[in-house]
């Protein structure tokens, strides 16, 4: 028996094909797991970068075997240049803050559990939700791509202070294309998170089941709701 006055998410029938079940899924649980996987990969990449930084700080003159394969300019013979150190540091910070710390606790767990904790069948805008993941994914790819452009990624730190970020390659390797890719990636990331937070806020406010007042929400639901409002602004 369907209570008309309780809002329900869009009814979509269960997916059947592999693509619609695992790749372009509209199901918030699958999207949550996809975000989790993305965060996991990003975390290990970021951790690997931190290892490189730490090794360089401790034994600055020692060559790191294999590093010249990642960047011939940045690490000739495996010895990291100071510029390359800054590039690695920038990427470490950017990846960790955006693609791990924002993605895992908020997007991954939130997507999976918020609708369930609220009692809903799914988020109110499953297509936006799916887009939010894939946009974030593309943002990650764009950021990773900056490792492989000739001059390497940007070196301005995750804070990208002006004017270092805006004067172009004269500031150092990676300040040309690297900065552009960084900006594009973060812009895409922001769009993805805006789409996601839209879903979160609407779910929390509109899709609670009978008996679920705001004060009866679990604390995690509150945390995700507050975080989503943050993301909007």
């Amino acid at each position: 028996m369907h209570d008309m006055s309780v809002n329900t998410a869009h009814h979509h029938s269960p997916p059947t094909t592999f693509i619609s079940k695992h790749v372009f899924s509209l199901d918030h649980k699958v999207i949550g797991k996809q975000y989790f996987a993305l965060a996991l990969v990003a975390a290990y990449v970021g951790m690997f970068l931190s290892w490189l930084m730490r090794i360089h700080l401790a034994w600055g003159d020692a060559p790191i075997p294999g590093l010249q394969l990642l960047s011939a300019n940045g690490a000739p013979g495996g010895v990291m240049t100071p510029e390359y150190y800054l590039q690695l540091m920038t990427m470490h910070g950017t990846i960790m803050v955006f693609f791990v710390l924002t993605t895992a606790p908020f997007a991954a767990f939130g997507n999976f559990f918020l609708p369930i904790q609220v009692g809903a069948e799914d988020m109110p805008f499953p297509h936006f939700n799916m887009m939010s993941f894939w946009v974030t994914f593309v943002a990650f790819i764009v950021l990773m791509a900056s490792f492989f452009v000739p001059d390497g990624p940007t070196l301005g730190g995750w804070t990208q202070y002006a004017p270092l970020n805006s004067v172009g390659p004269v500031a150092g390797p990676g300040q040309g294309l690297g900065v552009i890719l960084w900006m594009a990636s973060i812009g895409l990331f922001c769009v993805g998170q805006l789409l996601g937070s839209l879903n979160f806020i609407t779910t929390t406010l509109d899709l609670r089941v009978k008996g679920m007042s705001l004060m009866r929400l679990p604390l995690t639901a509150w945390a995700w709701f507050i975080t989503s409002c943050h993301v909007r602004s």
Partner: protein
Amino acid sequence: MATTIHEPPQIDSERLPGHGKGGWKDLSPADGDLRVVQEYSPPPSSTAIWVVIFGVTMMFAAFSSALIVRKGSSYDWQSFTLPSILYLNTFVLLLSSVSLEIARRRIATFMGGLKNHVGQPNTQNPSRWLYITLALGLLFVAGQYVAWRQLAAQGLYLATNPSSSFFYVLTAVHALHVLGGLGGLLYCLRRLSKSTLRRNTLVATARYWHFMGVLWVYLIVLLWIKL
């Protein structure tokens, strides 16, 4: 310790969906002793569009503050007169808001199966005024493009001067969001043709569209003062 007895929340059967006022008092338990949870929540599309409007407002607020500070702190600000077609564009956009409202009422009449305002069964195509809004919206974007060409003809490009940069960026970002609104209108049109358009969807789209108009008025005033 108190023993709290919980009955399942009472449903207020007098409140039909769509007639509640929504708003904050519907989101938390009613005051008084009875722990009755209101059944009515705002429709998702309504909440969603307010969230979107809020987000877009924040972004343009950031842009505005950047513009004001940048102008105030520089010596190289080159003021220029705004192309006059912008005022025509403003008029077009506001007109499209009017046509959208007409469309909304016509569609409501149509979907409700009621007679129209002159007391006859509705024979007009209900989506006509939506198409008109769409056309006016496209006209607006086209007009913006003309404005950009006019500026370029004067030698003012994106990177010529901070003032021209802000002009291009602000108008382009606004136009992008207008295109998004046009997408929403197309969505409504498609749904209408299949007779599956929900009232809330149309209301949300209209709200967004009107916001675009209001935002544009704000922008043009800001640009006129600052540029």
